[in-house]
Protein backbone atom coordinates (compact mmCIF):
# COMPACT_ATOMS: atom_id res chain seq x y z
CA UNK A 1 0.00 0.00 0.00
CA UNK A 2 1.42 3.37 -0.93
CA UNK A 3 0.31 6.82 0.02
CA UNK A 4 0.25 8.81 -3.20
CA UNK A 5 -1.06 12.06 -1.74
CA UNK A 6 -0.56 13.41 1.75
CA UNK A 7 0.81 16.19 3.90
CA UNK A 8 4.13 17.49 2.56
CA UNK A 9 7.12 17.11 4.87
CA UNK A 10 7.81 20.85 4.78
CA UNK A 11 4.38 21.47 6.30
CA UNK A 12 4.16 21.35 10.09
CA UNK A 13 1.59 19.04 11.55
CA UNK A 14 -0.75 21.87 12.51
CA UNK A 15 -4.36 22.47 11.56
CA UNK A 16 -4.81 25.65 9.52
CA UNK A 17 -6.55 28.58 11.15
CA UNK A 18 -7.79 29.79 7.78
CA UNK A 19 -11.49 29.92 6.93
CA UNK A 20 -13.28 27.05 5.20
CA UNK A 21 -12.38 27.15 1.51
CA UNK A 22 -9.64 29.77 1.91
CA UNK A 23 -7.06 29.76 -0.85
CA UNK A 24 -4.17 30.35 1.58
CA UNK A 25 -4.40 26.79 2.83
CA UNK A 26 -4.06 25.34 -0.67
CA UNK A 27 -1.26 27.73 -1.62
CA UNK A 28 0.69 26.93 1.54
CA UNK A 29 0.47 23.26 0.69
CA UNK A 30 1.64 23.82 -2.89
CA UNK A 31 4.67 25.77 -1.73
CA UNK A 32 5.53 23.04 0.77
CA UNK A 33 5.14 20.39 -1.96
CA UNK A 34 7.53 22.33 -4.21
CA UNK A 35 10.05 22.71 -1.38
CA UNK A 36 9.85 18.94 -0.82
CA UNK A 37 10.25 18.15 -4.52
CA UNK A 38 13.20 20.48 -4.97
CA UNK A 39 14.64 19.12 -1.71
CA UNK A 40 15.49 22.59 -0.43
CA UNK A 41 13.87 22.57 3.00
CA UNK A 42 17.13 23.36 4.74
CA UNK A 43 17.87 26.19 2.32
CA UNK A 44 14.56 28.03 2.31
CA UNK A 45 13.90 31.16 4.33
CA UNK A 46 10.39 32.59 4.13
CA UNK A 47 8.99 36.01 4.91
CA UNK A 48 5.32 36.04 5.94
CA UNK A 49 3.15 39.15 5.53
CA UNK A 50 0.74 41.05 7.67
CA UNK A 51 -2.72 39.69 6.96
CA UNK A 52 -4.40 36.35 7.44
CA UNK A 53 -1.14 34.61 6.51
CA UNK A 54 0.81 36.40 9.24
CA UNK A 55 0.84 33.04 11.01
CA UNK A 56 2.36 31.25 8.02
CA UNK A 57 5.35 30.36 10.21
CA UNK A 58 3.07 28.07 12.20
CA UNK A 59 2.67 25.96 9.06
CA UNK A 60 5.88 26.03 7.01
CA UNK A 61 8.64 23.98 8.56
CA UNK A 62 11.39 26.30 7.33
CA UNK A 63 13.15 29.33 8.82
CA UNK A 64 10.79 32.28 8.70
CA UNK A 65 11.21 35.96 9.58
CA UNK A 66 8.30 38.35 9.99
CA UNK A 67 8.26 41.57 7.98
CA UNK A 68 6.36 44.75 8.82
CA UNK A 69 3.24 45.16 6.67
CA UNK A 70 4.18 45.58 3.02
CA UNK A 71 7.93 45.37 3.54
CA UNK A 72 8.34 41.71 2.60
CA UNK A 73 10.29 42.44 -0.58
CA UNK A 74 12.76 44.67 1.32
CA UNK A 75 13.23 42.20 4.18
CA UNK A 76 13.65 39.37 1.67
CA UNK A 77 16.20 41.52 -0.17
CA UNK A 78 18.23 41.87 3.03
CA UNK A 79 18.12 38.14 3.74
CA UNK A 80 19.02 37.16 0.18
CA UNK A 81 21.88 39.66 -0.08
CA UNK A 82 23.28 38.33 3.19
CA UNK A 83 22.80 34.66 2.21
CA UNK A 84 22.79 34.46 -1.60
CA UNK A 85 22.87 30.63 -1.57
CA UNK A 86 19.60 30.36 0.30
CA UNK A 87 16.18 30.32 -1.35
CA UNK A 88 14.19 33.28 -0.08
CA UNK A 89 10.50 33.76 -0.69
CA UNK A 90 8.14 36.51 0.38
CA UNK A 91 4.46 35.58 0.77
CA UNK A 92 2.21 38.60 0.44
CA UNK A 93 -1.44 39.52 0.05
CA UNK A 94 -2.86 42.11 -2.30
CA UNK A 95 -2.75 44.96 0.21
CA UNK A 96 0.69 44.00 1.44
CA UNK A 97 2.17 43.98 -2.04
CA UNK A 98 0.13 46.47 -4.04
CA UNK A 99 -0.89 49.12 -1.54
CA UNK A 100 1.46 49.67 1.37
CA UNK A 101 4.32 47.68 -0.12
CA UNK A 102 4.22 48.84 -3.73
CA UNK A 103 7.48 50.78 -3.64
CA UNK A 104 9.45 47.97 -2.01
CA UNK A 105 8.01 45.42 -4.42
CA UNK A 106 8.66 47.42 -7.58
CA UNK A 107 12.20 48.27 -6.55
CA UNK A 108 13.11 44.73 -5.56
CA UNK A 109 11.89 43.64 -9.00
CA UNK A 110 13.68 46.52 -10.66
CA UNK A 111 16.97 45.63 -9.00
CA UNK A 112 16.43 42.05 -10.07
CA UNK A 113 16.68 40.70 -6.53
CA UNK A 114 16.83 36.92 -6.79
CA UNK A 115 13.83 36.38 -4.57
CA UNK A 116 10.50 34.70 -5.25
CA UNK A 117 7.35 36.56 -4.36
CA UNK A 118 4.07 34.70 -3.89
CA UNK A 119 1.30 37.24 -4.38
CA UNK A 120 -2.03 35.97 -3.06
CA UNK A 121 -4.74 38.02 -4.75
CA UNK A 122 -8.14 37.62 -3.13
CA UNK A 123 -9.39 41.08 -3.97
CA UNK A 124 -10.07 42.10 -0.39
CA UNK A 125 -8.40 42.81 2.96
CA UNK A 126 -9.27 39.59 4.70
CA UNK A 127 -7.83 39.76 8.16
CA UNK A 128 -9.12 43.22 8.93
CA UNK A 129 -12.67 42.27 7.98
CA UNK A 130 -13.14 42.68 4.23
CA UNK A 131 -12.18 46.20 3.20
CA UNK A 132 -11.38 47.20 -0.38
CA UNK A 133 -8.03 46.07 -1.72
CA UNK A 134 -6.07 47.47 -4.65
CA UNK A 135 -7.33 44.46 -6.59
CA UNK A 136 -11.00 44.68 -5.64
CA UNK A 137 -12.82 44.76 -8.98
CA UNK A 138 -15.19 47.51 -10.10
CA UNK A 139 -18.62 46.94 -8.65
CA UNK A 140 -17.34 44.51 -6.03
CA UNK A 141 -18.88 45.12 -2.62
CA UNK A 142 -16.59 45.38 0.38
CA UNK A 143 -16.91 46.98 3.80
CA UNK A 144 -15.37 50.22 2.50
CA UNK A 145 -17.15 50.03 -0.84
CA UNK A 146 -20.65 49.22 0.35
CA UNK A 147 -22.10 50.29 -2.99
CA UNK A 148 -19.45 48.47 -4.97
CA UNK A 149 -16.05 49.75 -6.08
CA UNK A 150 -16.46 52.96 -8.04
CA UNK A 151 -13.73 54.17 -10.39
CA UNK A 152 -14.50 57.82 -9.66
CA UNK A 153 -13.78 57.46 -6.00
CA UNK A 154 -11.42 54.52 -5.87
CA UNK A 155 -9.84 54.16 -9.28
CA UNK A 156 -9.74 50.85 -11.08
CA UNK A 157 -8.08 47.70 -9.74
CA UNK A 158 -4.33 47.68 -10.10
CA UNK A 159 -2.46 45.34 -12.44
CA UNK A 160 0.60 44.97 -10.27
CA UNK A 161 2.01 41.93 -12.08
CA UNK A 162 1.80 43.71 -15.42
CA UNK A 163 3.50 46.73 -13.86
CA UNK A 164 6.30 44.58 -12.50
CA UNK A 165 6.82 42.99 -15.89
CA UNK A 166 8.06 46.34 -17.17
CA UNK A 167 10.99 46.29 -14.76
CA UNK A 168 14.29 45.08 -16.14
CA UNK A 169 15.12 42.85 -13.22
CA UNK A 170 11.95 40.77 -13.29
CA UNK A 171 12.44 37.52 -15.13
CA UNK A 172 9.38 35.35 -14.59
CA UNK A 173 5.90 36.53 -13.66
CA UNK A 174 2.82 34.35 -13.99
CA UNK A 175 -0.75 34.73 -12.86
CA UNK A 176 -2.61 31.57 -11.87
CA UNK A 177 -5.53 30.64 -9.64
CA UNK A 178 -6.44 27.94 -7.14
CA UNK A 179 -10.15 27.77 -7.87
CA UNK A 180 -10.16 24.47 -9.76
CA UNK A 181 -8.04 21.34 -9.54
CA UNK A 182 -6.56 22.10 -12.96
CA UNK A 183 -5.61 25.62 -11.91
CA UNK A 184 -4.18 24.31 -8.66
CA UNK A 185 -1.87 22.01 -10.61
CA UNK A 186 -0.86 24.92 -12.86
CA UNK A 187 -0.19 27.06 -9.79
CA UNK A 188 2.09 24.43 -8.38
CA UNK A 189 3.99 24.29 -11.67
CA UNK A 190 4.36 28.07 -11.64
CA UNK A 191 5.65 28.08 -8.07
CA UNK A 192 8.07 25.30 -8.98
CA UNK A 193 9.36 27.31 -11.90
CA UNK A 194 9.64 30.51 -9.86
CA UNK A 195 11.79 28.73 -7.29
CA UNK A 196 13.95 27.29 -10.04
CA UNK A 197 14.43 30.76 -11.53
CA UNK A 198 15.82 31.79 -8.16
CA UNK A 199 17.94 28.68 -7.80
CA UNK A 200 19.48 29.42 -11.19
CA UNK A 201 20.19 32.98 -10.09
CA UNK A 202 18.28 34.43 -13.01
CA UNK A 203 16.42 37.26 -11.28
CA UNK A 204 13.14 38.28 -9.70
CA UNK A 205 10.24 35.85 -9.95
CA UNK A 206 6.62 36.29 -8.91
CA UNK A 207 3.51 34.16 -9.01
CA UNK A 208 0.20 35.96 -8.58
CA UNK A 209 -2.48 33.54 -7.45
CA UNK A 210 -6.19 34.35 -7.56
CA UNK A 211 -7.53 32.94 -4.34
CA UNK A 212 -10.95 32.71 -2.70
CA UNK A 213 -11.95 34.60 0.43
CA UNK A 214 -15.38 33.03 1.00
CA UNK A 215 -15.93 34.76 4.34
CA UNK A 216 -15.47 38.31 3.12
CA UNK A 217 -16.93 37.69 -0.32
CA UNK A 218 -19.96 36.37 1.50
CA UNK A 219 -20.12 33.32 -0.70
CA UNK A 220 -19.76 29.62 -0.07
CA UNK A 221 -16.37 28.18 -0.97
CA UNK A 222 -17.81 26.50 -4.06
CA UNK A 223 -19.50 29.74 -5.17
CA UNK A 224 -16.40 31.77 -4.36
CA UNK A 225 -14.25 29.58 -6.60
CA UNK A 226 -16.86 29.84 -9.34
CA UNK A 227 -16.79 33.62 -9.03
CA UNK A 228 -13.03 33.63 -9.54
CA UNK A 229 -13.53 31.76 -12.78
CA UNK A 230 -16.46 33.82 -14.03
CA UNK A 231 -15.59 37.35 -12.87
CA UNK A 232 -12.10 37.74 -11.45
CA UNK A 233 -10.29 36.20 -14.38
CA UNK A 234 -11.90 38.76 -16.70
CA UNK A 235 -9.97 41.51 -14.93
CA UNK A 236 -6.97 39.38 -13.96
CA UNK A 237 -6.46 36.94 -16.84
CA UNK A 238 -4.55 33.79 -16.05
CA UNK A 239 -1.40 33.78 -18.10
CA UNK A 240 2.36 33.97 -18.17
CA UNK A 241 2.89 37.72 -17.96
CA UNK A 242 6.63 37.65 -18.41
CA UNK A 243 9.15 34.94 -19.02
CA UNK A 244 12.63 35.82 -20.16
CA UNK A 245 13.97 32.40 -19.27
CA UNK A 246 13.28 31.02 -22.72
CA UNK A 247 16.96 30.41 -23.34
CA UNK A 248 17.23 28.48 -20.11
CA UNK A 249 14.09 26.47 -20.54
CA UNK A 250 15.84 23.11 -20.73
CA UNK A 251 17.54 23.76 -17.44
CA UNK A 252 14.24 24.61 -15.81
CA UNK A 253 12.02 21.81 -17.09
Amino acid sequence: MKRVFGRPKSMKDAAFHYCPGCGHSVIHRLIAEVIDELNIRDKVIGVPPAGCAVLAYDYFDVDMGEAPHGRGAAVATGIKRALPERIVFSYQGDGDIAAIGTAETIHAANRGECITVIFVNNGVYGMTGGQMAPTTIVGQVSTTTPGGRNTNRDGAPIDLSEMLAITNGSVYIERTAVNTPRNIVRTKRAIHKAFQVQMQGLGFSLVEILSACPTNWKRSPVQANEWIGSEMTKIFPLKVIKDTTAGDREALE
Binding site: D42, Y57, V62, D63, G78
Partner: protein, 360 residues
Protein backbone atom coordinates in the same frame (compact mmCIF):
# COMPACT_ATOMS: atom_id res chain seq x y z
CA UNK B 1 45.76 50.60 15.27
CA UNK B 2 45.75 52.79 12.21
CA UNK B 3 47.86 55.86 11.86
CA UNK B 4 46.27 59.20 12.65
CA UNK B 5 43.96 60.20 9.81
CA UNK B 6 42.27 63.55 9.22
CA UNK B 7 38.64 62.74 8.51
CA UNK B 8 35.23 64.29 8.62
CA UNK B 9 32.83 62.78 11.13
CA UNK B 10 30.57 61.03 8.62
CA UNK B 11 33.58 59.36 7.02
CA UNK B 12 34.96 58.39 10.42
CA UNK B 13 31.69 56.65 11.27
CA UNK B 14 31.64 54.83 7.93
CA UNK B 15 35.27 53.71 8.21
CA UNK B 16 34.69 52.61 11.79
CA UNK B 17 31.68 50.57 10.71
CA UNK B 18 33.63 48.74 8.04
CA UNK B 19 36.45 48.11 10.50
CA UNK B 20 33.87 46.71 12.93
CA UNK B 21 33.10 43.96 10.45
CA UNK B 22 30.02 45.60 8.98
CA UNK B 23 29.64 44.50 5.38
CA UNK B 24 26.03 45.57 4.75
CA UNK B 25 24.78 49.11 4.39
CA UNK B 26 21.49 50.41 3.07
CA UNK B 27 20.80 54.12 2.83
CA UNK B 28 19.09 56.94 1.02
CA UNK B 29 20.56 60.35 0.24
CA UNK B 30 19.76 63.16 2.67
CA UNK B 31 21.75 66.20 3.67
CA UNK B 32 23.86 66.57 5.82
CA UNK B 33 25.05 62.96 5.85
CA UNK B 34 25.44 61.98 2.21
CA UNK B 35 29.18 61.58 2.67
CA UNK B 36 28.49 58.63 4.95
CA UNK B 37 26.36 56.89 2.35
CA UNK B 38 28.85 57.65 -0.42
CA UNK B 39 31.80 56.41 1.65
CA UNK B 40 30.00 53.14 2.34
CA UNK B 41 29.21 52.81 -1.38
CA UNK B 42 32.87 52.81 -2.35
CA UNK B 43 34.18 51.03 0.75
CA UNK B 44 31.78 48.11 0.34
CA UNK B 45 32.28 47.95 -3.42
CA UNK B 46 35.94 47.39 -2.70
CA UNK B 47 35.22 44.39 -0.47
CA UNK B 48 34.33 41.01 -1.90
CA UNK B 49 31.71 40.41 0.76
CA UNK B 50 30.45 44.01 0.88
CA UNK B 51 26.84 44.80 -0.01
CA UNK B 52 25.66 48.37 -0.57
CA UNK B 53 22.20 49.23 -1.79
CA UNK B 54 20.94 52.75 -2.31
CA UNK B 55 17.42 51.89 -1.26
CA UNK B 56 14.28 53.48 -2.68
CA UNK B 57 13.55 55.18 0.65
CA UNK B 58 14.74 55.30 4.24
CA UNK B 59 11.81 53.05 4.97
CA UNK B 60 13.00 50.39 2.54
CA UNK B 61 16.52 50.72 3.93
CA UNK B 62 15.56 49.92 7.52
CA UNK B 63 13.62 46.89 6.31
CA UNK B 64 16.63 45.61 4.40
CA UNK B 65 18.51 46.07 7.67
CA UNK B 66 15.93 43.86 9.39
CA UNK B 67 16.48 41.16 6.76
CA UNK B 68 20.26 41.13 7.09
CA UNK B 69 20.10 41.28 10.88
CA UNK B 70 17.89 38.18 10.89
CA UNK B 71 20.81 36.31 9.33
CA UNK B 72 23.14 37.44 12.13
CA UNK B 73 25.44 39.74 10.16
CA UNK B 74 26.48 43.23 11.20
CA UNK B 75 24.50 45.85 9.30
CA UNK B 76 24.06 49.61 9.35
CA UNK B 77 21.86 52.34 7.97
CA UNK B 78 22.06 56.09 8.30
CA UNK B 79 19.94 59.15 7.67
CA UNK B 80 19.06 62.54 9.08
CA UNK B 81 16.04 63.62 11.10
CA UNK B 82 13.12 63.31 8.59
CA UNK B 83 14.57 60.07 7.26
CA UNK B 84 14.91 58.73 10.79
CA UNK B 85 11.20 59.42 11.23
CA UNK B 86 10.59 57.06 8.31
CA UNK B 87 12.64 54.35 10.00
CA UNK B 88 10.68 54.31 13.25
CA UNK B 89 8.41 51.43 12.29
CA UNK B 90 11.44 49.33 11.43
CA UNK B 91 13.26 50.27 14.64
CA UNK B 92 10.23 49.21 16.67
CA UNK B 93 10.32 45.85 14.90
CA UNK B 94 14.08 45.49 15.45
CA UNK B 95 13.61 46.07 19.17
CA UNK B 96 10.63 43.72 19.37
CA UNK B 97 12.33 40.96 17.39
CA UNK B 98 15.53 41.52 19.42
CA UNK B 99 17.65 42.11 16.35
CA UNK B 100 20.99 43.93 16.42
CA UNK B 101 21.45 46.93 14.12
CA UNK B 102 23.25 50.26 14.06
CA UNK B 103 21.45 53.40 12.94
CA UNK B 104 23.19 56.74 12.48
CA UNK B 105 21.22 60.00 12.78
CA UNK B 106 23.04 63.14 11.72
CA UNK B 107 20.56 65.65 13.08
CA UNK B 108 19.39 68.70 11.17
CA UNK B 109 16.90 71.50 11.82
CA UNK B 110 13.30 70.44 12.25
CA UNK B 111 10.46 69.61 12.65
CA UNK B 112 9.14 68.88 9.17
CA UNK B 113 11.55 69.53 6.34
CA UNK B 114 13.40 71.97 8.63
CA UNK B 115 16.79 72.89 7.27
CA UNK B 116 20.17 71.29 6.77
CA UNK B 117 21.98 73.05 9.60
CA UNK B 118 23.03 71.12 12.73
CA UNK B 119 20.56 70.79 15.58
CA UNK B 120 19.72 68.54 18.50
CA UNK B 121 15.98 68.38 17.94
CA UNK B 122 15.72 64.58 17.75
CA UNK B 123 16.58 63.79 21.37
CA UNK B 124 12.98 62.90 22.18
CA UNK B 125 12.64 60.83 19.02
CA UNK B 126 15.78 58.91 19.88
CA UNK B 127 15.32 58.38 23.60
CA UNK B 128 11.55 58.23 23.91
CA UNK B 129 11.04 55.48 21.37
CA UNK B 130 10.12 57.30 18.21
CA UNK B 131 8.35 54.16 17.12
CA UNK B 132 5.39 52.50 18.76
CA UNK B 133 5.35 50.16 21.72
CA UNK B 134 7.21 49.48 24.94
CA UNK B 135 10.84 49.57 23.92
CA UNK B 136 14.00 51.65 24.28
CA UNK B 137 16.86 52.24 21.88
CA UNK B 138 20.44 52.60 23.07
CA UNK B 139 21.51 56.12 22.06
CA UNK B 140 25.15 57.16 21.88
CA UNK B 141 26.24 60.81 21.46
CA UNK B 142 29.71 61.50 20.09
CA UNK B 143 31.19 64.95 20.33
CA UNK B 144 34.20 64.60 18.05
CA UNK B 145 35.47 62.71 15.04
CA UNK B 146 37.47 60.32 17.24
CA UNK B 147 34.49 59.69 19.44
CA UNK B 148 32.29 59.13 16.41
CA UNK B 149 34.62 56.32 15.38
CA UNK B 150 34.92 54.89 18.90
CA UNK B 151 31.19 54.91 19.58
CA UNK B 152 30.47 53.32 16.20
CA UNK B 153 32.66 50.36 17.19
CA UNK B 154 30.90 50.21 20.57
CA UNK B 155 27.50 50.47 18.88
CA UNK B 156 28.08 47.21 16.98
CA UNK B 157 29.32 45.51 20.16
CA UNK B 158 26.34 46.65 22.20
CA UNK B 159 23.88 45.77 19.44
CA UNK B 160 25.19 42.21 19.23
CA UNK B 161 25.62 41.78 22.97
CA UNK B 162 22.16 43.01 23.94
CA UNK B 163 20.39 42.00 20.70
CA UNK B 164 18.91 45.43 20.26
CA UNK B 165 19.12 48.40 17.85
CA UNK B 166 21.63 51.12 18.71
CA UNK B 167 21.33 54.70 17.51
CA UNK B 168 24.24 57.11 17.18
CA UNK B 169 23.02 60.67 17.50
CA UNK B 170 25.34 63.07 15.74
CA UNK B 171 24.64 66.37 14.12
CA UNK B 172 25.58 68.16 10.93
CA UNK B 173 28.52 69.89 12.61
CA UNK B 174 30.19 66.75 13.89
CA UNK B 175 29.36 65.09 10.60
CA UNK B 176 31.19 67.69 8.56
CA UNK B 177 34.11 68.71 10.82
CA UNK B 178 37.46 67.26 9.91
CA UNK B 179 39.41 65.99 12.90
CA UNK B 180 42.24 63.54 13.56
CA UNK B 181 41.05 59.98 14.06
CA UNK B 182 42.87 56.80 15.02
CA UNK B 183 41.07 53.53 14.30
CA UNK B 184 41.48 50.20 16.10
CA UNK B 185 42.47 47.12 14.15
CA UNK B 186 39.79 45.94 11.75
CA UNK B 187 37.55 43.02 12.71
CA UNK B 188 37.10 40.19 10.21
CA UNK B 189 33.34 39.46 10.13
CA UNK B 190 34.12 35.76 9.87
CA UNK B 191 35.82 35.92 13.23
CA UNK B 192 32.73 37.17 15.04
CA UNK B 193 31.10 34.53 17.24
CA UNK B 194 28.14 32.81 15.58
CA UNK B 195 24.69 33.67 16.89
CA UNK B 196 22.45 30.76 17.90
CA UNK B 197 19.18 32.38 16.92
CA UNK B 198 19.71 33.36 13.28
CA UNK B 199 17.76 32.41 10.17
CA UNK B 200 20.10 30.72 7.73
CA UNK B 201 18.20 27.68 6.53
CA UNK B 202 17.15 24.88 8.84
CA UNK B 203 19.97 22.47 8.07
CA UNK B 204 20.53 19.87 10.74
CA UNK B 205 18.26 21.66 13.15
CA UNK B 206 14.62 22.50 13.60
CA UNK B 207 13.23 25.56 11.83
CA UNK B 208 13.31 28.94 13.56
CA UNK B 209 10.88 31.81 13.63
CA UNK B 210 11.74 35.47 14.20
CA UNK B 211 8.61 37.46 14.87
CA UNK B 212 7.08 40.09 17.08
CA UNK B 213 3.43 39.10 16.83
CA UNK B 214 2.24 37.63 20.14
CA UNK B 215 -1.52 37.41 20.08
CA UNK B 216 -2.02 36.07 23.59
CA UNK B 217 -1.94 39.03 25.99
CA UNK B 218 -0.36 37.00 28.80
CA UNK B 219 2.47 35.90 26.54
CA UNK B 220 2.83 39.42 25.14
CA UNK B 221 3.08 40.81 28.66
CA UNK B 222 5.81 38.31 29.42
CA UNK B 223 7.70 39.44 26.34
CA UNK B 224 7.27 43.10 27.26
CA UNK B 225 8.70 42.46 30.74
CA UNK B 226 11.51 40.44 29.26
CA UNK B 227 12.47 43.40 27.08
CA UNK B 228 12.05 45.66 30.11
CA UNK B 229 14.49 43.57 32.15
CA UNK B 230 16.96 43.77 29.32
CA UNK B 231 16.63 47.54 29.33
CA UNK B 232 17.08 47.57 33.10
CA UNK B 233 20.30 45.63 32.68
CA UNK B 234 21.46 48.11 30.05
CA UNK B 235 20.61 50.95 32.42
CA UNK B 236 22.81 49.37 35.06
CA UNK B 237 25.73 48.58 32.78
CA UNK B 238 25.97 51.18 30.11
CA UNK B 239 25.57 54.85 31.20
CA UNK B 240 28.62 56.92 30.42
CA UNK B 241 29.40 60.58 30.90
CA UNK B 242 32.44 62.80 30.82
CA UNK B 243 33.15 65.21 33.67
CA UNK B 244 35.09 68.30 32.59
CA UNK B 245 36.38 70.61 35.36
CA UNK B 246 33.64 69.50 37.74
CA UNK B 247 35.71 68.84 40.86
CA UNK B 248 35.35 72.31 42.33
CA UNK B 249 32.52 73.55 40.15
CA UNK B 250 29.60 75.50 41.58
CA UNK B 251 27.74 75.61 38.27
CA UNK B 252 27.85 72.66 35.92
CA UNK B 253 26.75 72.89 32.33
CA UNK B 254 25.12 69.79 30.85
CA UNK B 255 25.45 69.34 27.09
CA UNK B 256 26.17 66.64 24.53
CA UNK B 257 27.50 66.52 20.99
CA UNK B 258 28.35 69.80 19.33
CA UNK B 259 26.73 71.77 22.16
CA UNK B 260 29.27 70.23 24.53
CA UNK B 261 32.16 71.40 22.34
CA UNK B 262 30.82 74.95 22.45
CA UNK B 263 30.23 74.65 26.19
CA UNK B 264 33.82 73.49 26.75
CA UNK B 265 35.07 76.55 24.91
CA UNK B 266 32.86 78.73 27.08
CA UNK B 267 34.00 77.05 30.28
CA UNK B 268 37.67 77.59 29.43
CA UNK B 269 36.93 81.31 29.01
CA UNK B 270 35.02 81.71 32.27
CA UNK B 271 37.59 79.67 34.20
CA UNK B 272 40.16 82.26 33.14
CA UNK B 273 37.94 84.83 34.84
CA UNK B 274 37.90 82.77 37.99
CA UNK B 275 34.43 81.27 37.75
CA UNK B 276 34.19 77.73 39.02
CA UNK B 277 32.24 76.12 36.22
CA UNK B 278 32.37 72.63 34.77
CA UNK B 279 30.65 70.43 32.22
CA UNK B 280 28.82 67.13 32.57
CA UNK B 281 28.69 65.52 29.14
CA UNK B 282 26.45 62.49 28.68
CA UNK B 283 27.90 60.06 26.14
CA UNK B 284 24.92 57.74 26.43
CA UNK B 285 21.62 59.57 26.08
CA UNK B 286 19.75 56.38 26.68
CA UNK B 287 20.48 55.05 29.21
CA UNK B 288 20.84 58.56 30.56
CA UNK B 289 23.64 58.79 33.14
CA UNK B 290 21.19 59.79 35.86
CA UNK B 291 23.05 58.17 38.73
CA UNK B 292 26.29 59.83 37.72
CA UNK B 293 24.51 63.18 37.51
CA UNK B 294 22.89 62.72 40.89
CA UNK B 295 26.28 61.95 42.43
CA UNK B 296 27.63 65.15 40.99
CA UNK B 297 24.63 67.08 42.23
CA UNK B 298 25.48 66.27 45.83
CA UNK B 299 28.18 68.95 45.64
CA UNK B 300 26.84 71.27 42.93
CA UNK B 301 23.93 73.64 43.40
CA UNK B 302 23.25 74.87 39.87
CA UNK B 303 23.06 73.22 36.51
CA UNK B 304 22.75 74.83 33.09
CA UNK B 305 21.38 72.63 30.36
CA UNK B 306 22.51 73.83 26.96
CA UNK B 307 20.94 72.24 23.90
CA UNK B 308 20.56 73.08 20.24
CA UNK B 309 16.81 72.65 20.64
CA UNK B 310 13.97 74.11 22.68
CA UNK B 311 14.73 71.75 25.53
CA UNK B 312 14.58 67.96 25.33
CA UNK B 313 17.45 66.51 27.33
CA UNK B 314 16.35 69.09 29.90
CA UNK B 315 13.52 66.74 30.89
CA UNK B 316 15.90 63.85 31.59
CA UNK B 317 18.08 66.18 33.66
CA UNK B 318 15.07 67.28 35.71
CA UNK B 319 14.00 63.67 36.16
CA UNK B 320 17.47 62.73 37.35
CA UNK B 321 17.78 65.66 39.74
CA UNK B 322 14.23 65.23 41.03
CA UNK B 323 13.83 68.92 41.57
CA UNK B 324 16.55 69.04 44.22
CA UNK B 325 18.81 71.45 42.37
CA UNK B 326 18.35 74.61 40.36
CA UNK B 327 18.19 73.74 36.69
CA UNK B 328 18.66 76.50 34.15
CA UNK B 329 18.23 76.17 30.43
CA UNK B 330 19.64 77.81 27.33
CA UNK B 331 18.60 76.64 23.91
CA UNK B 332 19.23 77.61 20.29
CA UNK B 333 17.11 75.53 17.92
CA UNK B 334 16.80 75.74 14.15
CA UNK B 335 20.39 75.06 13.28
CA UNK B 336 21.80 78.19 14.91
CA UNK B 337 25.27 77.53 16.25
CA UNK B 338 26.16 79.46 19.37
CA UNK B 339 29.65 80.74 19.93
CA UNK B 340 31.66 79.94 23.06
CA UNK B 341 31.49 83.65 23.93
CA UNK B 342 27.72 83.59 23.82
CA UNK B 343 27.57 80.62 26.18
CA UNK B 344 30.22 82.19 28.39
CA UNK B 345 27.94 85.20 28.78
CA UNK B 346 24.98 82.97 29.65
CA UNK B 347 27.07 81.09 32.20
CA UNK B 348 28.40 84.29 33.72
CA UNK B 349 24.92 85.76 34.01
CA UNK B 350 23.58 82.78 35.87
CA UNK B 351 26.70 82.45 38.03
CA UNK B 352 26.42 86.00 39.36
CA UNK B 353 22.65 86.08 39.51
CA UNK B 354 22.73 83.02 41.77
CA UNK B 355 25.49 84.54 43.89
CA UNK B 356 27.77 81.61 43.23
CA UNK B 357 30.91 83.76 43.52
CA UNK B 358 30.33 84.10 47.23
CA UNK B 359 30.04 80.39 47.93
CA UNK B 360 32.84 78.76 49.81
Amino acid sequence: MSEKLLMRGTHAIAEAAVRSGCRFYFGYPITPQNELTEYMASALAGLEDGVFIQAESELAAINMVIGVSMTGKRVMTSSSSPGISLKQEGISYLAAQELPAVIINTMRGGPGLGNIAPSQGDYFQATRGGGHGDYRTIVLAPSSGQESADLTRMAFEYADHYRTPVLILGDGMIGQMMEPVVFPDPIDPGSLPPKPWVLDGAKGRSSRIIKSLILDPAAMEEHNWKLFRKYEMIERELPQAERFFTDDARLVAIAYGTASRIAKGAIKRVREMGLKVGLFRPKTLWPFPARELRELSSVVSDFLVFEMSTGQMLEDVKLALEGRRRTHFYGRPGGVISTPDEIAKVITNIYYRQGLETET
